[in-house]
Amino acid sequence: MGGYDATVGADPSTPLQFFTLPGNTCPYAQRTLITLYELGIPFDITEVSGRPMPDWYLKINPRGKVPAIRIPTCDYEVVYESAICNEFLCDYVTFTLNKHQELMPQDAVMRARIRLLNDHCDNIFSKTQFTYLMNKDTDRDIQLANDMEEALMVYEEALEKSGGPYFLGNQFTLADLHILPFIQRLVVSLRHWKGYSLPQDKFSRLLDWFSLCLERESVKKSSMDDEKIIRVYQRFMDANYSFGGLNQNKT
């Protein structure tokens, strides 16, 4: 209320600050929230909103987006972009707190696989989800659903290759939490607006993976319920939202 005065700063013993949208509706910020809960790092939530974002927030994150984290014990350094925040938090536990964590393993090949899956999520998969959801030309629906399923097969295959139940095998990692918030929204919004559900025969492992992830405390604490997802997405539908360019329909 009244904004947050960034010039005052926080006591060095203050926990890390996590910036997110009100009601934590942002899937990118949810990734970092899950990470914070999984790693057990103490943090305070600061909600920020506005179009454009208030000046005090633009001083913190010049891109004006969430998530961002600010670390009082590291000279109030600010980190933004969800993937970078999450790798930072894992590095922080490993190198600064000298504790073992398994969200981002130390093995070089595992790390590369996690990063490749996350790159696939951001650069290949997520636009297929939003383009299908926001498509108004029913003749194109089948093609767009196919495109989305093709992009998702990478995950089904990862589960097959690793043996599951998580993408890299036994351990829940950054690869699982990176796509999870998007799958949550996909399942609810596509069922509601397109009457679409992920086919069990094609995605049996992925659907099992999804159920398993939903049981994790970190996921329960950070998720919106189905009704809320529909309310939030109704606003997007009404505004023909571009999802930052991920909706590739031309209107």
Binding site: I71, C74, I84, F88, D91, A108, R115, L116
Partner: protein
């Protein structure tokens, strides 16, 4: 990360011109330094020592008939590095710099077009990609991911003398990654869009965007003390920007009559000069004239640069 595969046919000419630099080794007759089999898992330090004694680090495989990915290289072979024929791809240049900085043995395989055998290796069909025989032929692509993998792998192998290319400090790592994100999502589109713009009335606005993007880097050099982005040590943050910075400086001077001013970018210009003296950077660079000619072709075909050209 996008590669300019569409131009590979044009670059085939450059292979012929560079033929004096190529040595063709028909499969099976390639001379190999005898080494103990490394078995499964990652390269052990003792084996790394044997390979490092082998002399020349780079061999180029014959392109004729393509490369059969189903056979696969011997697990004791060095890492395979896939790049564009002619070596013009700035994304692949990043990974080439990293190989040289870390002194890791590798073999170069040049790609033209998107042959099926390469799509089996990298389904996105782009460069750079690396394949690691000692890690069960694992394939890694996207330049940032290749580069971080090589650093992770090197540091795991050399725990007493880790490389400073990617430091262990979490804050420094985050800074480096943020700078690299800035290079890819803010600076590159601003550069390509300005470069490819043919509408005179829009030039000033686009140049402003580019200069704003460059300010971020000038400020980083100021804030963290320089002379490199992370301070005293050369890191992935420098590697990531360098091939783009080189192409930007050369093409903007030649085609837009624009040079970065000493007044606005004193540290950035010094940074570039300093980096250009490094052997790894020299190896991965291209002469000005080659860049100018390549970019003329891009201009003529209204190249999209994988979406980075926003015109």
């Amino acid at each position: 990360m996008k590669a300019f595969l569409g131009l590979s046919l044009i670059f085939a000419l450059e292979i012929i011109q560079q033929s004096t630099a190529l040595t063709f080794y028909p499969r099976g007759s390639r001379s190999r330094v005898p080494r103990r089999p490394t078995g499964e898992g990652t390269l052990q330090s003792r084996d790394k020592k044997n390979i490092m004694d082998a002399g020349s680090l780079e061999r180029i495989l014959a392109l004729k008939g393509g490369y059969d990915s189903t056979i696969g290289p011997d697990p004791s072979n060095p890492i395979q590095f896939f790049t564009l024929a002619g070596g013009m791809c700035p994304y692949a240049a990043r990974t080439l710099i990293v190989f040289h900085e870390l002194g890791l043995p590798f073999e170069t395989v040049e790609i033209s077009g998107k042959p099926d055998w390469y799509l089996q290796i990298n389904p996105r069909g782009k460069v750079p990609a690396i394949r690691v025989p000692a890690d069960n032929n694992e394939v890694i692509y996207e330049s940032s991911i290749c580069d971080e993998y090589l650093c992770d792998m090197y540091n795991n192998m050399n725990q007493d003398s880790t490389s400073t290319l990617m430091p262990n400090d979490p804050i420094q790592r985050a800074r480096i990654r943020l700078l690299n994100d800035q290079t890819d999502t803010v600076l590159s589109p601003a550069f390509f869009t300005y470069f490819m713009n043919n509408n005179d009335t829009k030039d000033e606005e686009m140049l402003q965007k580019l200069e704003n993007a460059l300010n971020f880097f000038e400020n980083a050099l100021k804030t963290y003390g320089g002379p490199y982005f992370n301070g005293l040590e050369f890191t992935l943050a420098d590697v990531h920007l360098l091939p783009f910075f080189l192409r930007m400086v050369v093409t903007l001077r030649h085609y837009k009559k624009y040079t970065l001013s000493e007044e606005k970018y004193p540290r950035l210009l010094k940074w570039f000069e300093l980096c250009s003296e490094r052997n790894s950077v020299k190896v991965a660079s291209k002469p000005d004239q080659v860049i100018i000619e390549t970019y003329k072709k891009f201009k003529d075909m209204n190249y999209k640069f994988g979406g980075l050209n926003k015109n």
